[in-house]
């Protein structure tokens, strides 16, 4: 599977991969994210609570942060050549502090007439488990 450097609606094809990115989130990033939202859910900052009351093996990464990384997978690839029109995703499994995560993307279909591509995106962990699968639609400009 080839990986593209920048999108060009006239040469894109189904199956092509977007650049992958690795994430090693730490407690500082998790704190800053929840502070930016004003999210006080204890599973994100109170490890004894997360372990003893909820049965998690560690502090839980915020689900929407994984969602944002799906966005970044598409938006960074697009650069100034297009825009994200729509995205749909779900948080299927939890991620924890200490995990090594990565975002992936793959072109599903190209609609040259409308100048749009549909893209399969996902966040996976170090065991290749899919934590957050989704699909996105991006609109591309012809330069």
């Amino acid at each position: 599977m080839s990986e593209m450097a920048r999108p060009d609606i006239d040469t894109l094809a189904a199956g092509q991969a977007l650049p992958t990115r690795e994430f090693r989130p730490d407690t500082i990033q998790l704190f800053l994210y929840n502070a930016a939202l004003w999210n006080a859910h204890k599973i994100h900052f109170d490890y004894p609570y997360a372990r003893d009351a909820e049965g998690y093996p560690g502090l839980v990464m915020a689900g929407p942060l994984l969602g944002d990384w799906l966005h970044q997978c598409v938006v960074e690839w697009l650069g100034e050549h297009g825009r994200l029109v729509e995205i749909e995703y779900s948080n299927r499994r939890a991620a924890f502090i200490g995990d090594t995560l990565r975002s992936t993307g793959r072109i599903l279909a190209v609609d040259r007439e409308r100048g749009q591509v549909s893209i399969e995106v996902a966040i996976l962990n170090q065991n290749d488990e899919v934590l957050a699968p989704g699909t996105a639609v991006a609109s591309l400009r012809r330069d």
Binding site: Q29, K42, Y49, G67, V75, S90
Partner: protein, 151 residues
């Protein structure tokens, strides 16, 4: 399996939360951009908001009595459901316009559906909330459809 969805519960479909109006600041965009690990300069400088910034902008700011013991904000839009344990849900987000500092945005949230499915381990209740974000000219900015599952 009988229906857990009483007429009283289903009568909540169509319920709306009060409109929420928020001002977008460069500092809030920058905080969000750094917290989410953005790498594009326009986001880090706060010239433009990353797409999902709207989520932080409209995240509830509950007073202490509006929080559950686990720290989660209690959503006044939701009725009391007979199932309590929340499972993973999904989001569908349509982006209509870019958010920039100085924008004044309004979000309207509606409980648009409640339905039940019977899974192998018992009944599941689904509900759907649509949040429509508009700018000061009444133009659509973001439309978010959230589906949550209770078991």
């Amino acid at each position: 399996m009988g229906s857990l969805l009483t007429p009283e519960l289903l009568a909540n479909i169509g319920r709306k939360a009060p409109p929420q109006l928020e001002l977008v600041t460069r500092k809030d965009i920058r905080k969000y951009a750094i917290a989410t690990g953005q790498r594009l300069r326009k986001y880090l400088d706060g010239d433009e908001a990353p797409p999902m910034f709207y989520l932080a902008l409209f995240w509830p700011v509950p007073e202490p009595e509006q929080r559950s013991p686990d720290g989660v904000a209690i959503d006044p839009l939701l009725p009391e459901f007979p199932l309590k344990r929340a499972m993973a849900g999904g989001l569908k987000i349509a982006y209509h316009r870019t958010i920039r500092p100085g924008d004044v945005l309004v979000a309207n949230r509606t409980l648009t559906n409640i339905w039940q499915k019977d899974g192998s381990s018992g009944p599941l209740i689904f509900y759907e909330i649509v949040m429509s974000v508009e700018n000061g000219r009444g133009e659509p900015v973001v439309t978010e459809t959230t589906t949550r599952i209770l078991r």
